[in-house]
Amino acid sequence: MAYLFNTADDQREMLRAIGAASIEDLFAGVPTDCRLDRPLAIPAPLSEAELTRHMMHLANRNQGTSELVCFLGGGAYDHFIPAVVDALASRGEFFTSYTPYQPEVSQGNLQVMFEYETMVCELTGMDVSNASLYDGASACVEAVLLSLSISETRRRVIVSDSLHPEYRQSLATYLSFLNAELITLPAKAGQWDQAALKAALNDSVACVVLSQPNFFGVVEDLAPMADMAKEAGAVVVAVVDVLSLGLLESPGAWGADVVVAEGQSLGVPLQYGGPYLGIMACRESLVRRMPGRIAGQTTDSSGTRCWVLTLQTREQHIRRDKATSNICTNQGLLALRATIYLSLLGPVGLQETAAQCAWKTAYLRDALSGNDRWEVAFPQGSHWREVVLRDRANDVELVVEHARHHGLLAGLPLGRWYPVLSDCLLVAVTEKRTRGEIDQLVDVLINTPSLTEPAHA
């Protein structure tokens, strides 16, 4: 067997020490009528070489972003990952360790958590970050649950339909089991409808979820919305793109009380949707309600500075059903990748990366301006890294298929989530895309023959 140590002699000796005649005897505690009386119907073992061949065969039946030029976004992005991230994060001392229950032999992980938390606070303008959650959507859910925990009478949660659809779906799932209501306000021209928000706010609202940029890539001035929410006594939850914070104002500065984000952009491979990095930070006043692990600074018995898991009385292993959340793990390895990535970029590199995303998105926008077939769906908005393009020929599915034959993942048809945007494509342009690739995309968009009638004739 692949990973076992004990020889037949070892096993005999061990059984003798135990006082058992056979391994079978050790399972005496499992009643016969609970036993499986046949072998598992799972194929015979594969050697490493055979497994590699099998996996290559499966991998070859996929076309990934190293083969197709990726303009797909929608919550996961094809950014460049420096080699140092992989080299360091694949060190076994990080990779094969666990939650730092014994701080004396986990200072590496704990210090990384502390550095990660500091970076998240710097980017978001919050006072406290936890050591990470599962992903952006579940971090968003946790922020909403935190808001609901503050008051028994505030049971409404307000979002805009410009929040990521899968985040809204995740919220809807959780809230359907609770005495709480999800109110989804339609965006107006891809932005918050201030009047609608004002009308929806009252003393039954627990929180308002504001995303920046929103799902359509639109950057908004959210301070007025945050102010209104605060005036009504609601918690302001910000869902941000963490990479954009090299350029865009920190949500703490425009009024967020809790900030959550998907951290995949920070050096985490796409790997078909996970594992990713759920970022969550909050103001100091909310820290006792925060879910997840938190690393804090202290000293050891000789006065040396060191790090420990702290504020653990919030957590399930101590409080059981009184805990702030059921979450046990953090995404340590992904938080490590993000910390290494941000260390490599530094403040200037992060700003340049965010700026290149902005410039390249603007370049795409400009390249299509005045085009007969394509228009920017929300032209009055400023866009960062993503933009919604409308196909006047109403043929986005065909465009995507056609683009694939030209080696491009052209973007995301929005009809699956927004029937009124069924003629639209959400296109992401990261810093990794070149001018030549963008030109090629524009060429494909313009030149895909259309078969159907225009939707907006």
Binding site: Q102, Q107, L178, G273, G296
Partner: protein
């Protein structure tokens, strides 16, 4: 030989103007960003990220890594966490182009190989559990528990039994069980254990009724014992119309030997990072796929991987589904490693792994019980819980003292003070990927510690990067981020 300079905080290594990663020059026009965005949305001060050279980053994190114990470097018998060897081949295969570089929103036609892998994995997990319907979506064990409880509530609601709001948990259960119930507003009631570690069936009888939704049981239990009365317990709970949830944290003991679906469970989660060798990553990522009986299938999260003719599809069209519990499909990177592990071992190898895990645990138990009493009769399954209560009484040494001193001998500490039902608990899980020699050395270390001077053990560890930290001050006056010293 410790490099103290490089393991300062990365912020303290920072020097204005130093750079590591550089981008290629922009090949498109670069207008002032203030012309692209309203000024209120632009940052006025750059975040205080470190300014360091690439070599700084490499040396800093490499040196930090050496301050960790890990499975690659040390015996890590952390009970309940199944710290087995994490095969290197799985890392390489999970990193293949065509696997690691797939965008989660690509069209089905471009990811047929991935969907096939996930579909096959669903089948293997169903076969191992004896429960036919699988959702790979949950992101961790606790997330799987929560998702399964949602599934159960949706099922009861559909049956018109919405007043089933009570979740029963044994007093020895993982803290996540009651915490998961609370997230969706269910009540929890604790069921007592008998002195031998089994569920107190009389206590359970007095607590099951028409409001019972789910009994969450860990079997093998957190004491490393198979619950012999499991069928009777299941009959009791099923008799009042409730469901049995199996916390699959301890599946490493029973692969191919006993299947939860065959001994009465209606739902369960796996911890692939434990049972199927996913690396623990310093706390995560994990994954928490769940398996359920066919009558619960309609309520599972969407989307699900299905096969339609020769094609694999993602199907979100399940009208009774609870919906989605996270973004995208799941922690696929972890699931791919689990798939590789299952393929490497095959059906026969999975069973052999469980047999060897149980053999190792019993060997270690037989060697340790003369030193530290194990309150529950053997044989055990994949782990056992010893007690340092007598040691504390006789010599004033606690489970924590022992744990800390073991670090000096180059062993990660066992889990201590869990489960809560055993005083001064020392929970030991060697896993199957450890040799007799390693376990003998571990036992020898405990023997030596028990002969040592009490003060020496009290003050342990002595050879680690730091001595015992002041956790009380850390919680009382939390310092949870670095701030520059004012100059």
């Amino acid at each position: 030989m410790r490099n103290v300079q490089s393991t300062q905080l990365i912020f303290e290594l920072s020097k204005p103007g130093r750079r590591a990663h550089r981008l290629p020059p922009a090949d498109v026009p670069t207008p002032e960003v203030s012309s692209l965005y309203p000024s209120a949305s632009l940052r006025t001060r750059l975040p205080a990220l470190p300014e360091v050279a690439e070599g700084d980053v490499v040396r800093h994190f490499t040196n930090l890594s050496t301050l960790n114990m890990s499975v690659d470097t040390h015996f890590y018998p952390l009970g309940s966490c199944t710290m087995k060897y994490n095969p290197k081949r799985n890392e390489r295969l999970a990193g293949l182009a065509g696997v690691a570089d797939l965008h989660p929103l690509q069209s089905e036609s471009t990811i047929q190989g991935m969907l096939e892998l996930l579909y096959r994995l669903q089948g293997y997990l169903a076969e191992i559990s004896g429960l036919p319907a699988v959702s790979l979506q949950p992101a961790a064990g606790a997330h799987g528990e929560l998702t399964a409880l949602m599934t159960a509530v949706a099922y009861f609601k559909h049956k018109g039994e919405s007043d089933r709001r009570v979740v029963l948990v044994p007093d020895s259960s993982h803290g996540t069980n009651p915490a998961s119930a609370k997230v969706i507003g269910l009540e929890t009631v604790t069921v007592r254990s008998c002195p031998d570690g089994s569920v107190d069936v009389e206590d359970l009888k007095s607590k099951v009724n028409s409001r019972t939704a789910v009994f969450m049981i860990t079997n093998p239990s957190t004491l490393g014992l198979f619950e012999k009365q499991i069928k009777q317990i299941a009959a009791l709970v099923h008799g009042v119309g409730g469901l049995i949830y199996l916390d699959g944290a301890n599946m490493n003991a029973i692969l191919g030997i006993a299947r939860p679906g065959d001994f009465g469970a209606d739902m369960m989660h796996y911890n692939p990072h434990k049972t199927f060798s996913g690396p623990h990553g310093g706390g995560g990522p994990g994954a928490g796929p769940i398996c359920v009986r066919d009558f619960l299938e309609p309520y599972l999260p969407v989307p699900r991987v299905e096969k339609s003719g020769e094609r694999y599809i993602l199907n979100a069209d399940h009208p009774h589904s609870i919906g989605r519990v996270r973004s995208f499909f799941g922690n696929v990177g972890v699931l791919v490693r689990a798939y590789c592990y299952i393929c490497s071992l095959g059906g026969s190898g999975l069973r052999a792994a469980s047999e060897q895990a149980v053999l190792n645990a019993n060997y270690l138990r037989s060697r340790i019980s003369p030193l530290l009493p194990v309150p529950h009769a053997g044989p055990c399954m994949h782990e056992f819980v010893a007690s340092a209560a007598a040691l504390k009484k006789q010599r004033g040494l606690t489970a924590m003292d022992l744990a800390k001193r073991l670090l000096d001998f180059g062993f990660h500490a066992p889990t201590v003070y869990f489960p809560l039902t055993v005083p001064e608990a020392v929970m030991i899980e060697p896993t199957e990927t450890e040799s007799k020699e390693t376990m003998d050395a571990f036992v020898r270390a405990i023997e030596l510690i028990l002969e040592e001077d009490q003060e020496l053990v009290h003050a342990a560890p002595h050879s680690t990067a730091i001595s015992r930290p002041d956790e009380v001050s850390a919680a009382r006056k939390p310092v949870v981020r670095w701030t520059p010293t004012p100059t």
